[in-house]
Symmetry: C2
Amino acid sequence: MNDIKENVIRAKSASITLSAVSTKTKDNALNAMANALDSFRNDIIKANAKDMDAAAKMKEKGELSDAMVKRLKVNDEKINGMILGVKDVVELKDPVGETISTMELDDDLILYQVRCPIGLLGVIFESRPDVVPQIMSLCLKSGNAVVFKGGKEASNTNKILFDVLSSAAYKAGIPEGSFCLMETRDDVSSILKMNDQIDLLIPRGSNEFVSYIQSNTKIPVLGHSAGICHVYVDEFADIEKALNVSLDSKIQYPAVCNAVETLLVNKKISKKFLPKMTDLFVKNGVEIRADKRAMDIIGDKKAKNAKGSDWDEEYNDMIISIRTVDSLDEAIEFINIHGSKHTDSIITENKINALRFVNLVDSSSVFVNASTRFSDGFRYGKGAEVGISTNKIHSRGPVGMEGLMIYKYIIIGNGHVVKDYAGKDAKSFTHRTLKKKFRI
Amino acid sequence: MNDIKENVIRAKSASITLSAVSTKTKDNALNAMANALDSFRNDIIKANAKDMDAAAKMKEKGELSDAMVKRLKVNDEKINGMILGVKDVVELKDPVGETISTMELDDDLILYQVRCPIGLLGVIFESRPDVVPQIMSLCLKSGNAVVFKGGKEASNTNKILFDVLSSAAYKAGIPEGSFCLMETRDDVSSILKMNDQIDLLIPRGSNEFVSYIQSNTKIPVLGHSAGICHVYVDEFADIEKALNVSLDSKIQYPAVCNAVETLLVNKKISKKFLPKMTDLFVKNGVEIRADKRAMDIIGDKKAKNAKGSDWDEEYNDMIISIRTVDSLDEAIEFINIHGSKHTDSIITENKINALRFVNLVDSSSVFVNASTRFSDGFRYGKGAEVGISTNKIHSRGPVGMEGLMIYKYIIIGNGHVVKDYAGKDAKSFTHRTLKKKFRI
């Protein structure tokens, strides 16, 4: 326990130095990290084989799902992906030190708002070792230190990835101790309590996992626990677009958070739309759970009756619930109650309805005539993704490196005192916006 | 309890409608609110008199401090201030709907990042009734609904201010229920539990009060519990500037969070600087608590020996602690450990030292040759201040209306599906930054 705390305090202290490391040193370190992944690929694959052996046994006992075992596997192709990922971050613009705004307060008294790293981040993830190079490179470029805690099932792989990457970074001039790996299960509960050291937690894993983290710490958490996305087919929808977008939103990759779970259909278009839609779903192996009015149209051969709980469930599977609504406003209200503020899409040719949907649906991503599956950092052009956030503050939706940044206010004066700006004969502030970038 | 929850759920639901109210309606409502304050000024002062009577009795029993009683008082002048404050908000630019960024993802597929309100805010404050018009007007303009809970000692004043302002706003077209006032002490603990409804808490009051709120809720909290600010007098300081800035930082208004509590002095300048500085402090009635090396210079007639606890104390009073440091880096490290990430200032003519201080002091405001007292929303040109935040995420330092905003991502497509951008023969994203403002 003391070791852990010491390491975290060391990382916190390193985060201060790291915040001022030059772009050149950081990019050199990233290139060194990419090279190290290449040089040590056999050792990494060997360490991963140990985890895979243990995982196979756990799978037999039913302790690990098939999906988790797949995500655990590291081969040459995955290492190539990691290397490319790290190199991509070299190309991202260094956000540290960027001047956000400049204001002259008075002669010789200038206020700058300058972008800076958040500080020390805690990244807790389940079996998916590629999180280590991805997050470590994003944090390094953005000047943040990181405490990692990975799943037990990936411990050998995480350990070697962490060692290879952090040694390469330190050799290239990154402050020693900037990265720290926690190895035991007890470490998680320690991390959750370190609200004096850790500035932001980023959990990556199942909904239950993220939800547990959110409920057991005072540290701000960036992420989402659920992805209950909707497609609403408006009375003014183009039927072809509605069919294509709904199908894609469901089946293009059903296991992920931005897949649609509930299809809302305006009653004025349901007779025309639902028979075609359900045929398409059935043909593609999607199970349908529908409300009574939809069932009357679909018939009980192709669909089951939805239960109350269906409207709040994230299937992450080839299942969709379908519900009839009387109006656009009913759809909006339903989404705001049953959705998870993740991604919701309207299919309509009516601009007024589209605008009302976009304005009033309280989700991080709201789409018009596009698949919910577009909700993703890579597709949004962010280069690399930290995760998707359903928070209402700081960062929302797909979060790139910008989500790891905050700012500080800097005033450069010349001996200025507040007493001169108070009382009678007070001097006035000029409050003039300047284009000038911060420099001393 | 049920009533409270119902009101909060109603406010949450009103927040959705409020988020899309036009600038014109909001500005009309703000003007109506300013007029209502003027029309009802006698009733407001009468209601305040009741609170003042009760407060006088509480003061006699020692249950209320002199400062709190002073802050409670509402007279014509204070009402004029409130009216001006509300009118100032009319002049602020409406941030809702502002396009932050636009990116073409592909032909006819455009991603917009658009500013929107956070949703429902909880404002909990101690006796200072001017918080009601100030926060209500800022929230209204930024499209956020609010749940208020004021101190018991100001209950009559808060109630009439709330009624006068919210009636005027609703009559002018603001959605009914957007504002809600909690009146009993039990209500606070209910508010703290409503993390499903309330998106952000803004506590205004004593350090203990804010600290209690931060420790007892899962809702994100915007604010600061302590204001331990430092002035560091570098070896390359201009003595005159050091004297003026240190004195102003301490005595210009010692009771507030941005007053300095600890003066750090480089040993290379202490013999030259400290005798003049301490004379000035003593002349102005400031009590000095100094470390041993400083005491050797000052002598024990003018100062007391500092205790260990002095370095972590927010005096909010005419007391200053003085400590000698060997180097700039020792000063930086000391501030990062003992400061509260609020505001810290270096006095130096050396640009390299100034830059190092500014880069490595992990505070929301870092100054060069300027009084810590400049750390304030009005002085920063924000027009109106929500509070000062020492958070590391979302908003930091003096927070204006921008701190009440978040964004949503909007995609306008034309039936686009992700399957076209996946697998072999995948289409590429164009990811072209556009200047275009959001519109449908």
